[in-house]
C-alpha cells in the first residue's frame, strides 16, 4: 500500500514538473495517457480498448486512462481527440465507423479522418457473419437472395442508420438486386434477438455472440462478410464467393490528433504491437474472432483512405445519409 502511495506521489510530481515546461520527448511518456473510446462502456470497441490499454500501460510504465465519449456514431469522442494537443497524451481507439464510414454518412462531420488524424497502429479486424433465425425458411445465401426477389422482399436488422451492419445489408441489396428492407435497432444484441425470434429475416453481426447461438441451433450462419472468411467460423463461406466485390470488415485502429511527433508515434506504435502479441490479448482475440492488424505503420494512411473510398461508395449507392 505504501509503495503505491509513493508511486502516486511520483506520478503527481512528474505531472506537475512537465507542466512547468521542457517536456523532453525522449522521456515520453512521463505522465498518464488518456485513451478516448468514442463508444459507450460494454461495446466491443470498449472491451478491446480496455484490454489493450491495460497491457500497453504495463509496457509503457504509465497508466492509460480509458475515457468513454460516446455519441453520434463515435463522432463526438473522435472530434474531441483531433482537437487535443498532438503530444501523445491523448489518443483514441478509431473504428471502421469513426475513421471511414462517418465521413460519407455525416454531412458536417467535425473532422476529416484522412487529414486530422495521426494513425498509430492497426489493432485488428473481424468480418461479420450473416445470420438468420433457426426457424427461417432460408437455408443458404441463394435461398435468401431468391426470397428477397419474391413478394414483399425480406427485412434485415442493423445496429443503427449508417452503421457498418446497415451498409453491409445495403451492399448485399445492391449486389444481388433483391428487395431488402432495413430495420434499425438500438443495439446489435437486441437486433440479434429479433433475428432469433424471426421478427427480422437476417442480420450482419459480430461473429462472437452470433457463433455461440449458431452452435446452439438458435441461429444459422449463411455467409461471412470478409473475402478471407472468419477464423472462428471457417466452415461458413464468404459472401464474396457468390457475389464478387463483397469484402467488408470491422476494424480497430489506434490514432492521435494530426501532426504527432514521429518518435512519440513510433513508441506508441511499438507499445500497441507488443500489447497485441501479449498472451492475454492473443487469447481474447482468438475467442472473439479478431485477427491482429496486418498493415504496417507507414501504410495506415493509405488503408484509411481506401476504406473511406470503399464505404463512401456503398453509402452512395445506398443513399444512406445521416446528419
Amino acid at each position: 500500500m505504501k509503495h503505491v502511495f509513493k508511486k502516486v506521489l511520483a506520478v503527481a510530481a512528474i505531472a506537475s514538473a512537465s507542466f512547468v515546461g521542457n517536456a523532453a520527448v525522449a522521456e515520453y511518456p512521463e505522465r498518464p495517457i488518456t485513451m478516448i473510446v468514442p463508444f459507450s462502456a460494454g461495446t466491443s470497441t470498449d472491451t478491446v480498448s480496455r484490454l489493450i490499454a491495460k497491457v500497453m500501460s504495463d509496457n509503457l510504465g504509465q497508466p492509460i486512462v480509458v475515457e468513454n465519449r460516446a455519441g453520434a456514431g463515435g463522432s463526438v469522442g473522435t472530434s474531441e481527440v483531433v482537437k487535443a494537443d498532438p503530444d501523445g497524451y491523448t489518443i483514441a481507439m478509431g473504428t471502421v465507423g469513426t475513421l471511414a464510414i462517418n465521413k460519407s454518412i455525416f454531412t458536417d462531420l467535425p473532422y476529416d479522418p484522412e487529414a486530422d488524424v495521426t494513425p498509430i497502429s492497426f489493432v485488428g479486424y473481424t468480418p461479420t457473419l450473416l445470420v438468420v433465425g433457426a426457424d427461417s425458411k432460408f437455408q443458404t445465401l441463394e435461398d435468401l437472395v431468391a426470397g428477397s426477389k419474391a413478394g414483399d422482399g425480406i427485412t434485415f436488422a442493423s445496429t443503427g442508420n449508417g452503421t457498418s451492419t446497415h451498409l453491409a445489408g445495403e451492399l448485399l441489396k445492391v449486389l444481388t438486386g433483391g428487395q431488402m428492407i432495413h430495420v434499425p435497432y438500438k443495439s446489435g444484441a437486441v437486433g440479434l434477438a429479433a433475428v432469433m425470434s424471426g421478427e427480422v429475416d437476417f442480420m450482419f453481426n459480430h461473429p462472437v455472440s452470433a457463433k455461440k447461438n449458431v452452435e446452439a441451433g438458435k441461429l444459422r450462419a449463411l455467409g461471412v462478410s470478409g473475402a478471407k472468411g472468419s477464423v472462428v467460423a471457417p466452415e461458413v463461406p464468404p459472401i464474396n464467393d457468390s457475389y464478387d466485390g463483397f469484402d467488408l470488415i470491422a476494424w480497430w485502429l489506434i490514432h492521435g490528433p494530426a501532426n504527432m511527433p514521429d518518435d512519440v508515434t513510433n513508441k506508441l506504435s511499438a507499445a500497441v504491437t507488443a500489447a497485441i502479441n501479449a498472451g492475454e490479448v492473443r487469447e481474447y482475440f482468438a475467442t472473439s474472432g479478431i485477427t491482429e492488424g496486418d498493415v504496417p505503420l507507414d501504410g495506415l494512411k493509405g488503408f484509411i483512405s481506401a476504406e473511406v473510398q470503399k464505404w463512401g461508395g456503398i453509402a452512395e449507392s445506398a443513399k444512406a445519409k445521416a446528419d
Binding site: G71, I181, S197
Partner: protein
C-alpha cells in the same frame, strides 16, 4: 434432483472465501454508490472492471453483479430520506417514501425498502434458477408489436399515478415524451431538437433529468422555504428505536400483496431486453394504486407505495440476468458491461453457457442470494444511523449533494454539457413544484416515449405499413384490451348512474 446437485455446485463456488469476500465488497460498494445521487452502477462497474482482471472470472462477476443489485438497495435510501433519488429507478420510491419520512416514519420506510428489496430479489433469483431458458424464450417471443403494447400500457398507467389532477399528470407525461424526442432519430439518422449540440445527439441523459427534476429542485425548494422563515414540514426525527422501525402486524399483512405483485411485474419487465428497472418500478406503483382499496392514500406515505416499486426494481435487476446469461443478449448498458467483462475473461455467454459453465452460472446465482442476505444484514442496522442524515444541517448536506449530482451527471458520458442540462432541469423542476405538478410522470414519458416510437415504427416497417399487425398477435391484443379497459374505467361510475336513472324512468 438435478437442481439440487446444481445448487450444491453453486454453493461450493459461492461459499469459497474469495467469492464471499468479493461479494461483500461488491454489494457494499453498490449500496454506497447507489445512495450517492447521480453516481450509478454503470459508471462504478466500468471503473471497477479493470480491477477484476487479476481475479478468477467467477469471483470477478460475483463482485461486479453485486455492485449492480447493491445499487438498487442504496438508491432508495436518499429517495426516502431526502426526496433525492440515488438512481432513476428509485424516483418512484420517493413518491411515498419521502412523505413517510415527513410523517416521522423514516425508519419504517427504510425497513420496508430493505425487506421488499430482499423479497423481490430472492423470488426473482428463484425464477432465474428454475426457468432461465424458458423465460428467455418467452422474452424472445416479444416482438416490437408486443413491446409497443406493453409500453402503451405503462404510459396509460402513468397518467393515473399522480394524485390530484389527471390533466396535470397528462401534461407531465407529454413533457416527458417531448424530451424523449431529442437526439438522433433511429430510423432516419436525422437529429431532432439537438440545437447543434453534438452532445445532445444521444438524447438528453436520464440521469440529468432525474437529478435535476428531483434532486436540484428539492434543494432549491428547501432553500426558498428557509428564506421565507423556516420550514414547517421539516421532519424532526433524530432517533429511531428499533421498535418503531418494524411494521405493526396489520401493516405487515398489507405488505405481502404489493411485494408479490411488484416482484411479478419486475421479473417480467426485467427479463425483456431493453426495458429496465425504472419502467418496472413505475408499473408496479401504478398497478398497486389501481388495485388498492385506498388509492387516495398513495402519495401521502402509503406503505404499499414503497414496497411494490422496491420489490419490482430489485426483481427486474435480477431477472435482467436471464437474457444476458442464457442468450448472450444484454438488456441494458450495465448488462452489456457485465457481458463485456465475461468476454474479457474468455467466457462468452450464449445458450450453452449454463451447461458449459455450470460452476460459474450456479455460483453466480447462489452468490445473488448470499449478496441479498448480506445487503439485508448490512442495511437493517444502518437504518438508525441513516435517518440521522436528515439532521445534518442544510448548509453542509446540500452542497455535498449538489457536488455529487454534478459529478454523477458528468460521469454518465464524460460530458460537461450534461451538468448544465441537469442544472436547467433543476430550475424546471422547481417551477413544477411551485405550480403543484408532480414530476414523476415526466420520467416515465421520457423513458417510454422513444421506446414506443421505435417499436411502433419498427412494427410498421416490418409489416410494410399494415396497422392490423397489432391485432394479429394474441399477447399484443390482450395488452391493448387492458389499455382500453384502463381508459374506460373512469367512465364506469357515470355510466352506471346513467343506466340506473334510465331504469327508474
Amino acid at each position: 434432483m438435478e437442481l439440487l446437485s446444481n445448487l450444491a455446485l453453486g454453493m461450493e463456488t459461492a461459499f469459497s472465501y474469495d467469492a464471499l469476500l468479493y461479494c461483500f465488497i461488491g454489494v457494499s460498494i453498490g449500496t454506497f454508490v447507489g445512495a450517492l445521487p447521480g453516481i450509478g452502477p454503470m459508471v462504478t462497474i466500468s471503473v471497477a472492471l479493470p480491477l477484476t482482471f487479476g481475479l478468477d472470472p467467477t469471483v470477478a462477476l460475483i463482485m461486479l453483479a453485486g455492485i449492480f443489485y447493491g445499487a438498487q438497495y442504496g438508491g432508495s435510501i436518499t429517495s426516502i430520506l431526502l426526496n433525492l433519488p440515488g438512481t432513476a429507478s428509485t424516483a418512484v420510491t420517493a413518491l411515498d417514501g419521502y412523505p413517510m419520512t415527513k410523517n416521522g416514519r423514516a425508519g419504517l420506510a427504510l425497513f420496508i425498502n430493505a425487506v421488499a428489496s430482499f423479497c423481490g430479489s430472492s423470488l426473482a433469483v428463484l425464477l432465474v434458477m428454475g426457468f432461465a431458458p424458458t423465460i428467455a424464450d418467452f422474452a424472445l417471443g416479444f416482438n416490437s408489436t408486443e413491446y409497443f403494447s406493453v409500453m402503451l400500457l405503462g404510459l396509460i398507467a402513468a397518467c393515473t399515478m399522480s394524485n390530484g389532477s389527471t390533466l396535470k399528470a397528462l401534461v407531465m407525461v407529454a413533457f416527458g415524451l417531448v424530451l424523449g424526442i431529442v437526439g438522433l432519430d433511429l430510423n432516419s439518422g436525422v437529429p431532432r431538437f439537438t440545437f447543434g449540440f453534438l452532445g445532445l445527439t444521444e438524447g438528453v441523459s436520464l440521469i440529468s433529468i432525474a437529478m435535476g427534476l428531483f434532486g436540484i429542485a428539492e434543494i432549491v425548494t428547501k432553500l426558498a422555504e428557509s428564506k421565507n422563515g423556516g420550514s414547517a414540514a421539516e421532519p424532526k426525527v433524530t432517533h429511531v428505536p428499533f421498535r418503531d422501525m418494524l411494521p405493526k402486524r396489520d401493516e405487515l399483512r398489507r405488505l405481502w400483496g404489493p411485494i408479490l405483485r411488484g416482484t411479478g411485474i419486475g421479473s417480467v419487465i426485467g427479463a425483456l431486453p431493453g426495458s429496465g428497472p425504472t419502467v418496472a418500478a413505475f408499473m408496479a406503483y401504478a398497478m398497486e394504486k389501481k388495485v388498492s382499496r385506498t388509492p387516495e392514500k398513495f402519495g401521502t406515505g402509503a406503505l404499499e407505495g414503497v414496497a411494490a416499486p422496491e420489490a419490482a426494481n430489485n426483481a427486474s435487476v435480477q431477472a435482467a440476468f436471464i437474457p444476458t446469461l442464457s442468450l448472450g443478449i444484454p438488456g441494458d448498458v450495465v448488462m452489456a458491461i457485465l457481458l463485456g467483462a465475461m468476454i474479457m475473461h474468455g467466457i462468452i455467454p450464449g445458450p450453452q453457457f449454463i451447461s458449459a459453465q455450470p460452476a460459474m452460472f450456479w455460483g453466480l446465482i447462489v452468490s445473488f442470494w448470499i449478496g441479498n442476505v448480506m445487503l439485508l444484514i448490512l442495511n437493517l442496522p444502518l437504518i438508525g444511523l441513516l435517518v440521522k442524515i436528515i439532521t445534518v444541517p442544510a448548509r453542509i448536506l446540500y452542497p455535498v449533494v449538489i457536488f455529487f449530482i454534478c459529478i454523477g451527471s458528468y460521469s454518465v458520458a464524460n460530458n460537461v454539457l450534461d451538468v448544465f442540462v441537469t442544472l436547467v432541469f433543476g430550475l424546471v423542476g422547481y417551477l413544477l413544484l411551485r405550480l403543484n405538478y408532480n414530476a414523476a410522470p415526466v420520467l416515465l414519458g421520457f423513458i417510454l416515449g422513444p421506446m414506443m416510437e421505435e417499436n411502433l415504427r419498427r412494427s410498421l416497417v416490418i409489416s410494410r405499413g399494415d396497422l392490423t399487425v397489432f391485432l394479429d398477435r394474441p399477447v399484443s391484443v390482450g395488452l391493448l384490451l387492458v389499455c382500453l379497459l384502463l381508459l374506460l374505467m373512469p367512465l364506469r361510475k357515470p355510466l352506471m348512474r346513467y343506466i340506473r336513472m334510465a331504469g327508474q324512468r
